[in-house]
Symmetry: C2
Subunit: 342 residues, 2 copies
């Protein structure tokens, strides 16, 4: 199948079917080449082969590497692994839009950084404060309301806001090959979790629709919430205080806290995912660790060791040393986004 | 079926079958009264009727109260709801046994309360420090090791330690009617979670075996953990610092943090569960809230408004005011523990 894209393959098998005129031949080919290819957007290279071999190994009852379904836990980073993260984390676009929307209520922001730069539309200056500045904006715009109010704000934004480069909804910038991988794992008895440095409440409102991952299988960074009675109704209010930072060394901690058992497969794209991959690989049974390497400057972005967003440096060295799977986006993925196929 | 216990009912149906001599009669009776009764340890009173009606309502496609399977989240308190909690929380027995086991390494405990009283076997004096003293013992005995080492300690203890009154393993003191209820909910598409004030790492090692609840569906109190490399191996070390206290107002917070959507059914037994029941009942769709009321001094324990363990006071008033289901253990449960049937 190498080098043959899906529509062409279908044509070829149809021809075969007509020439032979035997239903059984058509079925057999369709069984092996079409219905059985659960990863049609992946080129048939090492990455695809390693994934399919691992999944087959752990899901084959009686096989030497069989893992009971209850233990087939797979964890995925989000930014840069399941959807794009350039020119900045998509949640930063959300925070910027919230700053602009809330600016009339905060006259003090007109002269206070990083808010003032956001309001002026100077993104570069707004980001010059690094993670601290971003955290300040997230705190100011993601708290002081109920969890339900925040959920509604996220749903409204994610349904309408567009990415400045592609002009697409941010959810359309989910990677088609990774969506196929999530579905392929679930079809083989895996429970798929997101374990992201992004906000847990920013991802949950749309993760089920976009990734097929229900809220209870989303792990992320979070602020504290407080239970209160308001007019006799119980509400959870979002407080301006960090609860948990789910990145780097926080990822295995978050996995332990939320999932309570060690995953057997982990998927990431940056040094922030390294500890999650290390933790997953250190189990006593079969395990799988994969890095998505951003190598496609034309269809997506190319960046790794020196990038400010999604830096992949130590992780790339460790992947080579330990024989982890590294996806070369340019070489391994037939399409990046589903909309390319339209 | 009211007032007829299961073996007697089986005898009666057998007789009917013999008198009539018709297979179809026997099957019909067996179908309605035996195989279809998923809650055989429940007497046929209001509580059982309210449970079965709710479950049927939300699981009937096209019905006015139908709830999609993904939203059928049920949350259960553990101590006093799924297993007994007298004369003290079972995790306190565990902490006491750990204090005794670790005493040789801590000569200072011989003169330091509450440790000294535990070592002397004076439980009453050991508990006189209240929750603070208990927390101190839990911190001293549940930390300073890896999560994996702690898991092994829990498994060893829970497999061997016996309850002082019943002489049974603590896991044998799970309530048979609640085990049936958990299975009944799951058979109707519910995802069942434990949401307990008890330690999350104390419950997870055995909750799947005893309750059918996997680790990722256990929510509880926790200490902080730290990711570290030890001899090139990643470990999570348990720190002597509280991460989250999952009781009272903490339960809706824990539910939001771990599950991320509002449950539609909640089961508790004490005022510590009140906010969880309030939060569950405040959803926009159908919901169900149930209190287990400990009324059986003979087969179990009878306690409510003035008990130090599992106090049910405000909750009982609110249950009456809001029409929540209240289980009268003495009246509603045919058996408390599975071992009674042996």
């Amino acid at each position: 199948m190498k080098g043959i894209d899906q529509p062409e393959a279908q044509k070829r098998f149809k021809s075969l079917y007509l020439i032979n005129g035997l239903i059984i031949v058509g079925s057999a080919l369709s069984g092996t080449a079409m219905s059985k290819d659960h990863l049609p957007s992946w080129n048939d290279g090492a990455a695809k082969q390693e994934i399919t071999r691992f999944v087959k190994d752990v899901a084959t009852p009686g096989g030497p590497k069989f893992v009971p379904a209850a233990e087939r836990i797979a964890v995925f980073d989000n930014d840069g692994t399941l959807w794009a993260e350039q020119p900045m984390y998509f949640q930063a676009f959300f925070a910027f839009d919230r700053v602009k929307a809330l600016a009339p209520l905060h006259p003090e922001w007109q002269t206070k950084e990083p808010f003032a730069s956001v309001i002026k539309g100077d993104i570069k200056a707004a980001l010059s404060g690094g993670e601290h500045g971003l955290f300040e904006m997230v705190t100011a715009t993601h708290t002081g309301m109920t969890t339900r109010e925040f959920e509604k704000i996220v749903i409204d934004w994610i349904s309408t806001a567009k990415h400045p480069k592609t002009g697409r909804l941010f959810t359309e910038m989910a990677y088609q090959p990774m969506l196929e991988l999530l579905a392929f794992l679930r079809a083989n008895g895996f429970k798929t979790f997101i374990v992201s440095g992004g906000g847990i409440e920013f991802m949950r409102p749309w993760a089920e629709r976009v990734y097929g991952v229900p809220p209870e299988q989303v792990v992320g960074s979070s602020g504290k919430t407080k239970f209160e009675m308001t007019n006799g109704n119980p509400v959870l209010t979002k407080l301006p205080e960090l609860n948990f930072f789910d990145d780097n060394v926080g990822k295995p901690v978050g996995i332990h806290q939320h999932i309570g058992r060690r995953p057997i497969a982990a998927f990431g794209n940056s040094d922030g995912d390294l500890q999650m991959l290390q933790w997953t690989s250190a189990g006593s049974g079969p395990s799988f660790a994969l890095y998505v390497h951003h190598t496609d400057a034309e269809r997506e972005w190319a960046y790794d060791r020196t990038s400010h967003v999604g830096r992949l440096d130590k992780g790339l060295d460790e992947a080579k040393a330990k024989g982890w799977t590294v996806v070369d986006m340019k070489r391994d993925w037939k399409v990046i986004y589903a909309f390319e196929k339209q």
